[in-house]
Amino acid sequence: MAANGHSGGGPAHAVGSEIVMKLWRGDESGGGFEEYRIPAQEGEVVLDVVHRIQATQAPDLAVRWNCKAGKCGSCSAEINGHPRLMCMTRMSTLPPGEITVSPMRAFPVMRDLVTDVSYNFEVAKQIPAFTPPLKPAEGYRMAQVDIDRGQEFHKCIECFLCQNVCHVIRDHEENKPRYAGPRFFVRLAELEMHPLDTLDRRAYISERMGIGLCNITKCCTEVCPEEIHITDNAIIPLKERVVDSRYDPIAWLGRKIRGRPVPTSAAEAARHTGAAATEARGNRSGAAPAEAASAGGSGDAADA
């Protein structure tokens, strides 16, 4: 990202120099950049400077933050036009000259740097929940290799920067009701690839979550502070599953009915889910070798 592009000479914004920071101030009715000048301090990140401006010059400056360690995903903003976490952007990595900080553009402004991200929480409510098989007496077993991919997706800190840069909604507000966005494709992928999950969400992903609208420009992957391979590891495999040649709503319904009878005993339930998992995983194209192993893994666990 261009933010790292500074080179030559001493570090920009070094101690002793004056920082010129333009912060977007305003609300839903409009606003603009206001300039603040403040002496640079050692080793600061953008959020530190914003906080010092707030404490000394602009006490009502609205900004979200929590952990200040890149773990909570609260302080997303556009720094010199680039979507970043303010807490993980060191001043020394920015080019010399004035710095602009503005709110994420894909979401309505509440005030100053704070946006209304409620769209994301509305999408989250609609995701069909994790649905494990009946638990075997000795508990679930999963191999590390089978959960590596899922753990990558679980790294998501819900900063919504991927949502912010996704042009399907960034430039087309009207798409929001029918499009989940990269964050939730990651969420759906984590459920779909969870070794224990038994639900088939393919129709849902295609019809309700609008995955077809994504044309894999990878903007989301580029801005992810957790370096999740959103496009390659989540979205593309999901797209492949959805267009799977074997995907057919009637057949899917048939599998659903045959594969998930009401269990009459724990042992029977374990047998059924083991079989269903093997069938479902085996049928999906684009399944990584790890997943093939996972089908065996959960089957073993169920049989043990």
Binding site: A55, D60, N66, C72, S74, R111, I127, F130, R141
Partner: protein
Amino acid sequence: MPTDHETHDYDVVIIGAGGAGLRAAIESLAKGARTALVCKSLLGKAHTVMAEGGVAAAMGNVWQEDNWQVHFRDTMRGGKMLNNWRMAQLHAQESPDRVYELEDWGALFDRTPDGRILQRDFGGHRYARLAHVGDRTGLELIRTLQHRAVSLGVDVYMECKIVKLVRGADGAVNGAVGFWRQNGQFVTFSAKAVVLATGGIGKTWKFTSNSWESTGDGHALALWAGADMIDMECVQFHPTGMVWPPSARGLLVTEGVRGDGGVLKNLDGERFMFKYISPYFAAETADTIEEGDKWYTNKSDYRRPPELLPRDEVARAINSEVKAGRGSPHGGVFLDIASRRSAEEIRRRLPSMYHQFKQLADVDITTDAMEVGPTCHYAMGGVRVEADTAATTVPGLFAAGEVAGGMHGANRLGGNSLSDLLVFGRRAGAGAADYALGLGKGSPLDEGAVGAVTNHALSFLRAEGESPYDVHEDLQETMQNLVGIIRTGSELLRALEELATLDDRAAKVAAKGGRSFNPGWHMALDLESMLACARCTTLGAIERRESRGGHTREDYPKPDPELEKVNMVARVRDDEISVTSEAKPVMPAELRQLFEEAT
């Protein structure tokens, strides 16, 4: 009566949506109670998300010898026996089920070779006991609970700050008053029961691992509603916070670094912890480097290295080394894992530490040592609760997680917080729901009391007065300098005087700007909570004339066996906070035996 504010009515209102609040909500919903979850930030951003190392539970997946009795004993000894024994017992017994339950809800913990949940070593734990996901266990925990609660249809009220609890004519808590941070409009919640799950008080100190939310709101809400607080003097300074760069000072460096083999060194390169093994832990601690190193793979024949002593012991040792002039260039000590484990293993086991140091300090922890020092981390003290139900001393009010006191005694072991949230979050949700559903009809909110709260809150929006940020900075300086890691009587008395001045200043601050998302206004109100907590901590520290766990008195350097038997109880009577020592529950003989056999 007509009101000018939004109102909601529930059986159970939970304040705080970290691990404890979310787990309470799940349980309350399961009991059939109409449940609301109110939080100061967006959902999923609570402090739990920052927990790194893991959740302690004696599942025995790595060491079969582990069981709840060993965990109970470690917890009590780590807390220097000041813990509420019943809480420590329930916690040790129930935490494995709470961890497995997360797996039922989709959590993906790191695995053992045979596919079970892997457990890692941590300070004060006899066996590898922490279920974990790399070094981002808190994120896994909060996200799993969040998905679960959302899928059950909990009503979530985000970015809402609760200013005061309201009590009915019978004295029971029956609601809460708050405002939306977004627009500054007031909102009231009628509730048959309220659960406090608001976390800690760390923002009262200058160097802290805590986020802006940790302003002791729940502690203060309980105190003002007439509840008892216990042992507020017991504050944990985590031994390893970042010390450089200055803006990152205090950020947590997980104990998992030491659990995974990292060691502490001073400027001379000496593993100094071997000099600081207290007699209390001598029998179970390695006294040579050779023995300590062998322990990682053979826990039956060797004792654990002193780097893995409980946090209070390690924090004091680091403090002493720095004071003696053997610190690192930026006033900490060195934490070295680079020379002990392969780069590949470090990046796999500690990915977010790798990331954090690389991005914030330009340090590659796979090749260089980290600089670390103590940082304010956790309040062991808190609202006095009944162990089984999480009920406070005020009817209708429950508390769980960091805001509750007793579970961790004078010092919390790493990993015992996430398990605490799960065990007592669940119990608080159940306790509150049972209470609420048994109550029948709720009582109407006292509109006069509500009006007084809103008028008071609005009074800070004025043109003339000091900046709330300045008062906060001075409060942090005061607590850091006078009520910090090492305390002494004369300084504590001076702190009390300064707190009185700060109280006056805080009452007169001016929040400039309007009601809509105005952090200066929020700070003015948060200051009231922080000052109440600071006073409880200082008064407790004055009364506890001994050194025990996280509370260290230079003028009383030894533990006093008589003070092991008492809690320092803070409460408001006649508008004044006072502290008295009161006998704490006595452990039954069959549990006491666990300590006699093992020592």
